[in-house]
């Protein structure tokens, strides 16, 4: 033991062998975060190609590029892909997974195997939904799939079932992630990282995780009821048999409004990370921005009926939901003003990441203003189901998630992949995406006010919509070009980019204290924090992962301790847990090693959901039973102790 240093021992304990099969079994949050980024970005490209097909069809009036049925399928898949396979997983899955343990000074997430399960379930849910293309019946009733359009009568094929089971599968992935985030953030913070020192990124993640926990059950309920009706002849949404079609809208939007904030609140977290670093000053109004995330999360559960102003709700409900919707603008406005104040009082360095953050604020404000407009009942009656709403959702969701993602990519790629991106290509990509985005989506406001309904596959000329639609298509292609430049930059950086130093931006949060990319075990010693911006106030943290000179540490007075040794002796993976609010040292926690069980369990679920797609006959029941058996075996092994505990 004397010859092996603590760093070598930790490296051996935490490493995943480099071969392909071992890499499938890894539970390292950093590998999982990188996979999330690449997979969700791949789905973004697929959804983007679908968008371009839609824009080609709408380029001029009366075009015959896509027929009505194909158009329905493509716009449904565009919505489902962008919202559920890209916007939902990308920020929390990629940056959340990769950054949270590093930001809080932990060696991994609380439940590493569940983390791997989240990823595989997400990937397989995407595979399942795109399996619909192989059998030629993709979902075609739009991403919100209103009843009774989705009943067996109107969608006899499995199209809608792909939507249902795919999203239920994704719900498994997302819920498991949320639980993992909550427990990690509450229990695995390093000593001194009390709740009032959490970075704003973490605040946004925790608010999001709670929203997931309480909103996805509504989607689950809706899917269960819909599939019972479709497969087993239940009467829930069928008005002819006493059902209530509007119940679908209530259930879907009780989920669907929080999910809008599940998309953009993590994005605000990225922006709150990027802005202080490049404005080179502490965030102004930290406490207000943190509380804004939490209060938007709360409010998100009381605004769902603003999607339903035209269905004939009682006046009292209209007033309540309208007022609640307007209320969201208060915390959101506070957040925006805190960013602006920070920028105003800082000394800005106009890097690409920072430009994207500024673009984010721009699109967020425009989307927010059109949100307040549609929150007003009389105006909503006018623009409901027109392109005005399409413009609004693209500003408030597509713009925010995309620009926050790109800000995050330019900010964190050095940490995640160890290479610097090119500022020159980065700026070119920025101007193309920013110009393309606004050209593509801003005219939709106008054409919506002129009465163009959403989700139509073509339109007649002479309605005043032609030039706007042509502009939108041109904008979409410029946006696509910008994305190509970003991809080029990313690939050239991976191959030939300069190696990234530990902290290229002089950033404040803890992930920049370790090497780029970080070692498998993240931290040799567990840091002890005394500040909200640890790297700005505790410069000694920059050497946290260097082998310790014991004397040097011993000389430190107790109030000035940089790090606790953390568990380094064991040959099993260990990290430290602390108390929930004050982050005082609580326990040494043993972590599971790499495992094939998450992959096996996700595969079992894939078999179950695939078996549920067609009408349930003998063979299909057999498939479902096989899948359940696989899940059962995986769970049996999962919870069996690795070694018999010594009694």
């Amino acid at each position: 033991m004397a010859t092996v240093t603590a760093a070598e021992r930790l490296a051996r304990t935490w490493e995943t062998p480099a071969d392909f099969v071992s890499s499938l079994f890894t539970v390292d949050h950093k590998a999982i975060g990188r996979r999330y980024l690449l997979t969700a970005f791949f789905f973004f490209l697929v959804g983007g190609v679908e968008a371009l097909l839609l824009r080609i069809q709408l380029f001029r009036p009366g075009a015959g590029f896509l027929g009505p049925h194909t158009y329905d399928q493509i716009f449904t898949m565009h919505g489902v892909t962008m919202l559920f396979l890209f916007a939902t997983p990308i920020i929390i899955g990629a940056f959340g997974n990769f950054m949270i343990p590093l930001m809080i000074g932990a060696r991994d997430m609380a439940f590493p195997r569940l983390n791997a399960l989240s990823y595989w379930a997400f990937l397989f849910a995407g595979v399942l939904m795109y399996g619909s293309l192989i059998v030629g019946s993709p979902p075609n009733a739009s991403w919100f799939s209103y009843a009774p359009l989705t009943s067996q009568t109107y969608v006899p094929g499995p199209n809608q079932d792909f939507w249902s089971w795919g999203l239920l599968f994704l719900t498994v992935s997302t819920t498991v992630s949320a639980i993992n985030f909550i427990v990690t953030i509450f229990k695995f913070r390093c000593p001194g990282l009390s709740i009032n020192r959490l970075s704003l990124f973490i605040w946004s993640e925790i608010a999001t995780a709670f929203m997931i926990l309480f909103s996805f059950p509504s989607l689950t309920a809706a899917i269960i009821l819909l599939e019972l009706e479709r497969k087993w002849g239940f009467h829930i949404f069928d008005a002819n048999a006493g059902g209530a079609p509007l119940l679908w809208q209530h259930l879907f939007w009780i989920f669907g409004h929080p999910i809008v904030y599940i998309w953009f609140i993590p994005a605000t977290g990225v922006i709150s990370s990027v802005i202080p670093v490049f404005a080179q000053r502490r965030m102004i109004g930290y406490i207000f921005v943190a509380l804004a995330s939490v209060s938007v999360a709360f409010l998100s559960f009381g605004v769902w009926a603003h999607h339903m102003f035209t269905v004939g709700l009682p006046l009292i409900a209209l007033s309540f939901f309208s007022a609640a919707s307007m209320m969201v603008s208060f915390p959101s406005g506070v957040q925006v003003f805190c960013w602006i104040a920070t920028i105003f009082h800082g000394r800005s360095r106009l890097t690409t990441a920072y430009l994207y953050a500024l673009a984010y604020i721009f699109v967020f404000v425009i989307g927010g203003i059109s949100g307040v407009m549609t929150g007003s009942v009389p105006l909503d009656w006018q623009v409901h189901s027109t392109y005005f709403v399409v413009a609004h959702i693209h500003y408030v969701v597509a713009g925010t998630v995309l620009f926050a993602l790109l800000a995050g990519v330019y900010y964190w790629t050095p940490k995640m992949f160890g290479r610097m991106l090119s500022e020159r290509l980065g700026r070119l990509g920025f101007w193309l995406t920013f110009a393309g985005f606004n050209l593509a989506f801003f005219p939709m406001h106008a054409v919506g006010l002129l009465g163009m309904p959403r989700q139509i596959y073509t339109y007649a000329s002479g309605l005043g919509w032609d030039s706007s639609n042509a502009l939108e298509t041109v904008g979409a292609f410029i946006l696509a070009l910008g994305i190509l430049v970003v991809i080029t930059d990313f690939l050239q950086a991976l191959i030939a980019g300069p190696m990234a130093p530990d902290n290229p931006w002089n950033a404040d949060t803890l992930e920049w204290a370790v090497s780029s990319p970080p070692p498998d075990y993240n931290f040799l010693r567990i840091p002890v924090l005394r500040s909200r911006e640890p790297l700005w106030d505790q410069p000694e943290l920059a050497t946290i992962n260097q082998p310790a000179h014991e004397n040097q540490l011993a000389d430190e007075p107790e109030s000035n301790v940089t790090a606790t040794p953390g568990p380094t002796e064991s040959t099993r993976r260990q990290t430290m847990s602390t108390t929930v609010l004050d982050a005082e040292i609580s326990e040494t926690i043993e972590m599971p090693g790499d495992s094939y069980l998450p992959l096996l369990l996700a595969f079992g679920l894939l078999v179950v959901f695939s078996g549920l797609l067609p009408d349930l006959m003998f063979v299909e029941a057999l498939v479902v039973a096989t899948g359940l058996a696989i899940c059962a075996v995986a769970l049996f092994l999962w919870f069996w102790p690795a070694a018999e505990p010594t009694v």
Binding site: I179, K187, L228, G242, L251, V561, P567, E644
Partner: protein, 201 residues
Amino acid sequence: MTALDSGLTLPPARPVSGSRAPAWWGMLCLIATEATLFVLLIFSYFYLRWGSPNWPPQGTPRPEFTVIIPATVLLLGSSAPVMWAETAIRRGRQNVLRLGLSVAWLMAAVFVILELWEWSHLGFGPQSSQYASIFFTITGLHLAHVSIALLMSAYIQLRASRGHFDAQHFLAVENVALYWHFVDVVWIFVFATVYISPYVT
């Protein structure tokens, strides 16, 4: 080593339980999200009722209590032996753990049988009306949860028979007990909704 430990000492790895254990927090989160699912289905029940002129629809009798009351007593009562078993293992008494869990298991299993019997004697199937559909959905989902709790309990009984638990190692027992109580408490709300509320006009 002493030098490194200055001021902040880390206890050695040891078995944890309750709020010290990450898995305990995980179970609470799972229960929170599952409870929300039941809340939304109960919301759906009342939404459907609100839109219907008669509840239950004409020709459908109101639910009977003869079978479900004893079943309810058994299910809610099964929480007691689970608590008893959990308290016992905290003191290292493995025999009481096994006994308590198996008594509770039998009680809940009889609940499942009684409920299935009740289903087959209702006089209507889930396709009969919107009332029947939501009745079967909610009771069925609860039945699925009881079955999962039964499987979980069977699993830790197997582990208990291998001597996996003692006065320090009982986190899995604690978590299964939490889930078990959750399934029981949910039944109170399900029962009030699908059995009692039709009598309130």
